[in-house]
Point group: C2
Chain length 346, copies 2
């Protein structure tokens, strides 16, 4: 075991953010670490971070006193944290040994000492891409699966609309809904993404919301009979337009509202009165509440991946130094598919 110190690149959080985050809110530093756990440190694992996940919810951790979050704010002067895929280099935890792979909460650096390994989930050695555990086989996968099957209460043949539909979660919701027998329309912010939705993910229809001056009219065009299920990823004006197009007893599963996270004051939503007469249910949810379904989810999704019945598109940035740009890009829709940062490939 290497006792000598080794260099450890880290992405540090500089200070709390208001408005859109910038790359300069983070800083790449190089410190050093040892690749073994100090004597006396119990129940810890020392890991090499292989893949790091850029997720929209991380914006909330960049604000101070954000009472909306269930996690804590990032600490200025400490590394950014989030989901990742890790390889165990050393362990004093009975469940982990050197060479194990896992996914869960880690920090944005090359090597991390994880003192709460109960937040990690072990990865079996398979021939699936390890990066998938930041996406389809990780938190976004459970989010899409539980959000659609549990929160949306879908019925065959229903009309499903998904915003931010080519993202880490949206692309899966659309594919799950198609496999379930629904009619699925998605929106995204570029021609490239719309093409993916139609040609790669098998959505029935897709449109570029940036090219629609009247979102209400666009939705009426794609859903002449109205929307049964809206999988909400964006909020604001899109939600307002959707509310005008919901069917009686429609359901809106609120996974995220990325269009609102960087505004000083969120946009107003004006059409909520329509939920009364239409008996619409709007429900916020978090993947955290559905981890008990993870084994069942894997059992369903892994064969689908192997048979090519579900595909997953990732946008992989190479190297920890590109992590800040990748995270910032999420809030400008620059990612095409799930945004991942590859720190190391072994």
């Amino acid at each position: 075991m290497a006792e000598e110190a080794i260099s450890n690149k880290r992405v540090m959080f500089k200070n709390y953010v208001t408005g859109f985050p910038k790359e300069s809110d983070m800083e790449l530093v190089t410190s050093s670490t040892k690749l073994n756990i100090a004597e006396g440190t119990k129940d810890a694992v020392l890991v090499k971070n292989l893949y790091l996940s850029c997720d929209p919810y991380m914006r909330s951790r960049m604000s101070k006193f954000d009472t909306l979050t269930i996690t804590s704010s990032f600490q200025p002067g400490k590394p950014v944290g989030g989901f990742g895929v890790v390889k165990v280099l050393d362990s004093t935890h009975p469940n982990y040994k050197k060479g194990d792979l896992a996914w869960g909460i880690t920090e944005w650096e090359e090597y991390s000492l994880i003192v709460s390994p109960q937040l990690l989930i072990k990865i079996p050695h398979t021939d699936l891409p390890l990066s998938y555990y930041t996406g389809i086989l990780g938190m976004p996968g459970i989010t899409a699966y539980a959000g659609f099957h549990e929160v949306c209460s879908p019925k065959k043949g229903e009309f499903v609309y998904i915003s931010a539909a080519s993202g880490a979660v949206g692309q899966l919701v659309g594919q799950f809904a198609k496999l379930f027998g629904c009619y699925v329309v998605g929106s995204a912010g570029s021609k490239e993404k719309v093409d993916l939705l139609k040609n790669k993910f098998g959505f029935d229809e897709a449109f570029n919301y940036k090219e629609e001056p009247d979102l209400n009219a666009a939705l009426k065009r794609y859903f002449p009979e109205g929307i049964d299920i809206y999988f909400e990823n964006v909020g604001g004006k899109m939600l307002d337009a959707v509310l005008l197009n919901m069917r009686v007893r429609g359901r809106i599963a609120v996974c995220g509202m990325i269009s609102q996270y960087n505004l000083d004051k969120p946009e107003g939503v004006h059409n909520l009165t329509s939920i009364i007469y239409k008996r619409v249910r709007i429900e916020g949810f978090l993947a955290n509440d559905f981890y008990h379904l993870y084994p069942k989810f894997l059992e369903m999704v892994i064969p689908y991946i192997k048979e090519g019945k579900i595909v997953y598109v990732e946008d992989v940035a190479e190297g920890l130094e590109n992590a800040p740009t990748s995270l910032i890009g999420l809030f400008h829709g620059r990612n095409v598919g799930k945004q991942v940062v590859a720190v190391a490939r072994e």
Copy 2:
């Protein structure tokens, strides 16, 4: 049976309304009618209207092309319509005979020919006030009962907040919630109403929202641990403040949004992002979906009324000529309790 024509006062709807309705949007006219059903008219009942109900939802029927309603718009030149308590004078329907009492959809006039008596529900002869069938024993009663017990999914000890709490529905929700074992706070728009909430309906706390410059601060004062259940009657700024004070897995049952009905553009609600992290459910509902529970509801509520465990406050206007003022008054909060119009007392 009187074959000669008798005078029939009627409240006619003049034209579609934008903004706040005015008394001049309705017109009192006197026509004549016969008190028997013309030969050949099958399955009809001719009724004397005893009590007419003023309900906030009626505002939607005063607008044209309101896609939000499940009922049709009022027809200009025809009488205003709504819930009422009626006495059968003549019947060609097998279920009804002269002298029967019923409640349901009728028109704003002294005598009505009802050609769809399937929309009526028979009233047994009891010693309860007949006007109660426009309120606690009618549509508002089912609304409160189903809204609280079915839509809110209450648990004992939960923190319940009710806006427009002294109204036809709110006063009942509060009393049902207290009987169920919840902590109940209500808001209303005058000292008199707040006194009713605390001293007559047994709410734990109550406040006058017009005296609260900061609704968020007011709610934090009354709910230091947050709100589990919000029974929504008003919408707009109140909903926005409530969203900041909901507890994890809180429920918002949307019964009405009376503050929004008369606005050209409804106010924006800005704090919806908070429903994600708190996993809040917001659900619109209508009494219509719960009429199957009506017998069970009566079985519960009638003994409570007789034992004095539930009280009901009505604001009764005397005479059909006062019906327009009574309806308009709803939208200015002038009613204290359920607004009823007594057309005739027998």
